[in-house]
Each structure stands twice: as C-alpha cells, then as structure tokens.
Subunit: 436 residues, 2 copies
C-alpha cells in the first residue's frame, strides 16, 4: 500500500527540520522579549468577514475558506493583523496603551507555489499599539534588525528599505498630478524592478502625458536620498522630515548601516498610513523577508477607538533560505545529553534509577528500552541516538563506587563517584556547552 | 460599529492568558527533553482520507472538513497520531528506531461545546516508536507523570489509571463469552460510571443471558487488583503478567503512588493493541487530562513496515482547569525587566543608547516612546507596564557618572556606576529571580 502524502504546499517537520524551525522561533522570541514585547495568539481561523473588512472580496481567492457545519463562512488565517485589530478593538479603552505585542502565528495562503512561497508558513509579528510618533516606528525597525542580527546576519547580508506612503502623495500633488492618477502610478512604481525599462517608460508616458511633469516625477523616482528629493522639489515636505527623523533615530540605535531610503517601497495595501518598510537580502535576489509599516486607521475599522499602530511581519521560509545560503543554520543538536549503558550483570532497574537521578537535575537522558541487550548493542544505540556522553554502569565500577563516563565526541573517559555523579555530570555538560 | 467576535469554540490569547499557555508549553517541552524526546510537527490539515483510514467514515462528523480550490477533501487535524503514522511510514526503514518523538500540536474538533472541551485546543503528544516491550510503556507513563509533577501537581492531585486491552479479551474467552458479544461488552464497560447501576445491570443481562457467566464477569469487573483477578479466574494470563511487570517498572521509577490498576479503562478506539491508560484528577471529577496506549498496527496501516509503538496525548484545557483549582497557575510575569526614565534635560537619544546597552546583555527593557514626556508620566508608564525596575537617567546623576535604579516592588533605590551598570543590572536581576 502506498503511504499517503501531506497536502500540497505544506511541510512535514521531521526532528532535524524542526530543530531549525525551533532555532528561528527561539531567536524571534528572545529578540521580542528583549524589546519588552508580550506574546499573544488568536484562533487559527476567523469569520471570513474579518478578512473581507480589511482587504475586500478579492482576498477570498487567496484563502482557505469554507463553511462550517452551521453554514458559517470561515477562513484559515492568511495573516495575524486582522485578529490583532479585532482583539484590541474588542477591549476598547481598557487595555493600557502602549501595547508591545508579538506573536509567532502559523498562517495559510492558497496561492501558486513558488520559490520562497508555501501554502502553510510561520511569521514573527511585532506591533506597537498606541503611539503616533515615529519613535515607535524606529523602535520596531530596530527590533527587526536585531532579529536578523541575533540569527548571525550582518549589514552585509540584509538591508531594511524604508519609505513613507504619504511622501509619494505629497510629491504627486506638488507636481500637479491629478489625484485620480495616483493609484495607477503606485501600481507602476510597485513593479518597477519586475518589468523591462522600455515597458516601464511606455506605461509612464500613458499615465503622465505631459512631458515636463513626467520628467520631474521620473527624476524623483530615480533619487536615492531624501536630500536630493527635498532639493529637487524645492520645499520641505512633512513626510521627508518624518523620514529624516526616523533615520536619525535609527542612527542612535546604531543601525545606520542597516537601513536605506528606497522610494520604490510602496507596500501596495491600502491600509498603510505612513512609514512603510521592507527587509531584503542585500542583493535583493530573494523575496522580502519582512515588511511592515504604520496603520493608524485599522483598529477603528474593526470597531475600536481611533488607535495609532505600527507593526511588521517576518516570514520563516525566505529567512531559512538566507540562513542556509550564509551557512548560519544551527548544527544538528544532540537528542539527549547522555545515554545510560549497563553491563549484563546489572539489573534493568539500575538504568531507570540512574535516569531518575539525572533527569531530576534536568539532564536529558535516555537508555535502551529493551531490557535484555548486551553492552555492544547498547553502545550502538547510544551512537544512533547521537548523544554527547555515554554513562557505563558495570558491576566492577559499582563495587568501587564509581561510574564511567565516555565523551562520545573525543572518546575520552573518566570515572565519577557514584554518590554525586549527577552534579558532576551537570558540570561536565556546562563545560561542554561553553566549548561549543 | 460592533467589534466582530472570534469563531465559536476558539480562544483569544491576550498576553496574560498566553503567559499561562506558555507556562504549560514550557513545562511540556522541558519534560519531553529530559526524557530524550525530539520535537516534530506536521501540517495543520491533512487529506481527509488520512483520518478515515484510522477511524472510519464516522470521524467526518467531528471534523472541520472542506474541499480546497482543487476539490481535494481536506480536514483540520483532530489529532496528531495519523500524521505521525504517515510520517514514520513514509520513511520506511530509514529512520533509526527507537524514535522518541514529541510535539505540541494545535488541534480542531467540531463538537458540542462542554466544560473542558473546546473546538480548538492544544495537546502534548509523546510517542516511542520501535519497541515492543512494556518497558517503553513504562518510560512513557513515567514521562506523563513527570509532566504533571513539573507543573507542581502531586500524587494527591492525580492518578494514572492503567489497564490492558487484551486482558478483557482473555477474560471473556476464559469465561466462554462468544467473540461476537465482546464489542457490546466493551461499550457497556466504557460507560459504567455514566449510567445508573440498574440500567447497567439490565444491559449486562441482555448481553450475557447465562447467570453463571454473567456473575463471573460482573465479579471480575468489580475487582481492583490484578491479584484478585488472577486468583479468581484460576490461571495466569499473559496480559496480567504484562501489567504486573509494568507496575513493577513504575515502582522502579518511584511512581507507585501515582498509578492504579483500573479494569474500567478501555479507550474505546479500535487501534489500541495492549496497555491502555488514562490520567485523571484524583477525584475523577473532570474529564481525562491525558490518555494513551500501545498501537502496534497503525504504522503498517499507513503503508509502513510493521512497527510497534506506544504513545499518549495530554490536552491543555482540563489541565489548565486543574492547575487553577490547585492554585498552581504562574503569577503574572513582568513584561520587561526594566523601564528607562530620563529627566527633561536628557535627550531622547539617551533612552535609546541605554536600551541598546541593556538589550545587548539580554535584559528585557523598554522606555516611553513619546519623545517629550515628563518624568512623572514616564514613571506612570513604567508602572502600567508592570516592570521590575526603573532606571533613572538625570543630568545630576550623569555628571556624577551614576544611574539610579529603583526596585518597583520594594521602592528601594541604589546608584550604579554608569560605566558598567549593564553588568550590575544583570546581577541585580539574577538576585531578584532567585528570590522569587
């Protein structure tokens, strides 16, 4: 009979693969906590309307949506932000702001599978709720950078590309582009690096027939500094000041090498209201690893009080690819610290009693569960389990009041007193961990 | 506008509730690792057939089942064991046995909501794959007990009730009950404590019309020790020997106070092949907290090689109720270790620079994100955040090369040298943790 396979776009996390996931989750948790963020979670699915509210009917095409047995329309969550907005809105003004909340949700999107995209994936979400100043955006971008640094990545490996949704609006208005044409231009800008330059130019001409206006706006789009844009349009724009202050703050965080201004970052979605940013590998050869920005209207949209908010989400799939490329994946961790081996003249009970002592001290240990097994086979089992140490209990050592410990990596052995070998093992393991 | 609510039978995990969940998850992970178990995970949904294979078409009624956009029948997972069996079967003989695997899956059942039952819940799953001896059952039951002990529960709070699926079979055969009547009797036995005694007796008479046979079997069912059953039926049964050895091994683990023989534990499902057990609160006033047993045929059923296996699952909902009843819930943890407060004559940058230094040392810290905020308001924000310490940066202290630290619990203050206050804070926090 054929073994059934898992659903398309999902992953089976065997222990070695799970260890890599866990390494990423641990790092995400550690960074979030360092920044004073508290963990929250929501249901794995929501009423479909919760997603329609934020993204319109279009979203349904990308969702796992279904009716439950009571004919309620339900969807597996494609992102956590609607749940966050719903939860914050539900508490009205009773939650003490600002909130610093993080979560590591499992998410689902029914979409065409491509490199870096799966139908089931994980994210880190971090959000600061209740602060309208750009200092919150800075704190959040700093956390995103620290998240990458904690995994061993440097300023040579990734950059946060930052813009401001209102900057384009202000520029378009300054150059007299009619408001009804803004959306078309956003769309074009969003695909700048995805279409050939000649097509880009042709489309631009269609949207902005006037040569001078087109020249001015095209010129602006090619600029890679706030100063140039400011000089060019001849007046100080609020959004530029806002961005400049953000970059100054990020310099205070020590992160000037990690951030760049990029007018091309648009974050298509309608719900962003200010600063937007995307985190890419340095060459921009992969999809975005993280993205976020300010969304000051969303909690109100879900029936809550007007509440400023800023947040980002980082995905696990592209991040794991980058870690692999940079050889920053963790080495296979040993399943246990220690494997207990007994000689034929020692009762099986002794394995249990020894494990009890060690486990009470928090040492991860195991032993062969077949009661009658010779020492050679037990040692083979210890090797298969990939443990760090083997502990031998023989009649001879027993009579001397000793146990023998073998370092499976170096092969070196030492004798420990039977009376306090638990504590001695804790010391050995500490030493072994600090050597890594 | 009304705030939308989450779907029926699901939970919103606000940070305080999430902290309790995380406390349980951390304990589950710690115990599993102590026993040398490796973590694995599977997809959140499977092809519906994966569940039909194990439990028949009936199971569909209790599932969130739906068709995806390619008309594939999909179901949110109601348990992890089918996924485990599929994953182990898929690797054939290439996985080195025995496996010690654990997982903390999120699961979904579409069922009537009752106390202790939700439509979305979490479990700890632990399985040992590849050992047919009862020593594996003992190791697993020991782990289940240690899981409870690690959360602060004692032998006065809970018991593991153990039986053997083949024991009933052997007894029925011994007393000459026809094989076709066995299943009816299993069903009756499973609901012994749920129906009035007179109904129980009446049903018993229907299934076993012969007075002597009925008397013998009823007598057996009332026995609470293996010895009595053995004496009564007048011969040594394999299943009793198997159980007796299991209890001996659990005594070696030091857990004789935690386990009882209970012939009433049946675990209705067809897939169990030997030892079965259920973990209840001591008074059996709640639903089972954990249940499991041996399932030696399941991996073969999924197309893998014949592979003995034993496992258990513990749910989060009833466990949390018991912890609450026993006042063993963790206290609200502080969101951060420290809140940085600056006086009006110190620049906002100083908050950032100080946070950088502390976060680099792994200290969880935050500060007011409103740049212009007076000290009184900052202190209020520190109180609202529920931090352990407040760190004051004032011009006066600055000139003396000092920072002032206030213990928010006791109100006591001390001055630290500005040069190495990070390390001094680490020491203060260590002391504060060990005082808890």
């Amino acid at each position: 009979m054929a073994v059934p396979s898992g659903p398309k776009g999902t992953r089976d996390f065997y222990p070695q693969i799970m260890a890599i996931q866990q390494h990423i989750f641990d790092s995400w948790t550690k960074t979030s906590r360092k920044y004073g963020f508290e963990q929250f979670e929501g249901p794995m699915f929501e009423h479909l309307d919760v997603y329609r509210k934020k993204s319109g009917d279009e979203i349904e095409k990308q969702l796992y949506a279904f009716k439950d047995k009571a004919e309620r329309e339900i969807a597996l969550r494609p992102e956590l932000t609607p749940t966050l907005a719903r939860m914050v809105a539900a508490k009205g003004t009773t939650l003490k702001k600002p909130l610093r909340w993080f979560s590591i949700p499992r998410l689902f999107r029914y979409e065409k599978m491509q490199k870096g995209r799966l139908r089931e994936f994980f994210q880190l979400n971090m959000d600061i709720i209740g602060i309208e100043e750009v200092s919150a955006d800075a704190e959040l971008i700093a956390a995103a950078i620290d998240m990458m640094k904690d995994l061993g990545l440097t300023a040579d490996d990734f950059k946060v590309r930052i813009s401001n949704r209102t900057l384009l609006e202000e520029l378009f208005e300054h150059y007299g582009l009619p408001r009804e044409d803004h959306q078309k231009l956003y769309a074009l800008l969003d695909k700048k690096h995805k279409v050939p330059p000649e097509n880009y130019d042709a489309e631009m001409e269609k949207i902005i027939p006037d040569t001078d206006t087109r020249h001015n706006i095209k010129n602006i789009f090619s600029m890679n500094s706030l100063e140039k844009i400011s000089n060019c349009c001849g007046k100080q724009l609020d959004s530029i000041e806002n961005l400049q202050h953000l970059f100054d703050l990020l310099t205070s965080y020590g992160f000037d090498d990690y951030v760049v201004f990029d007018i091309g970052v648009v974050r298509g979605l309608a719900y962003y209201t200010g600063i937007v940013f995307e985190l890419f590998d340095a060459n921009k050869s992969m999809r975005a690893i993280a993205g976020g920005g300010r969304y000051d209207n969303l909690i109100k949209l879900y029936g809550g009080p007007p509440t400023p908010a800023v947040g980002f989400a980082a995905g696990d799939v592209v991040l794991a690819e980058l870690l692999k490329e940079k050889s920053l994946m963790p080495p296979d961790p040993p399943r246990s610290d220690l494997f207990i081996i007994t000689s034929d003249d020692v009762a099986y009970d002794q394995r249990i009693a020894t494990a009890r002592q060690l486990r009470e001290k928090g040492i991860r240990c195991e032993f062969a569960l077949k009661e009658k097994m010779n020492m050679t086979k037990q040692l083979k089992a210890a090797n298969a389990a990939g443990v760090r140490y083997a502990l031998f209990l023989g009649k001879e050592e027993n009579e001397q009041g000793k146990v023998r410990v073998k370092d499976m990596r170096t092969g070196s052995e030492e004798l420990l007193d039977v009376e306090n070998f638990g504590s001695q093992m804790v010391k050995l393991l500490d030493r072994c961990c600090s050597e890594r």
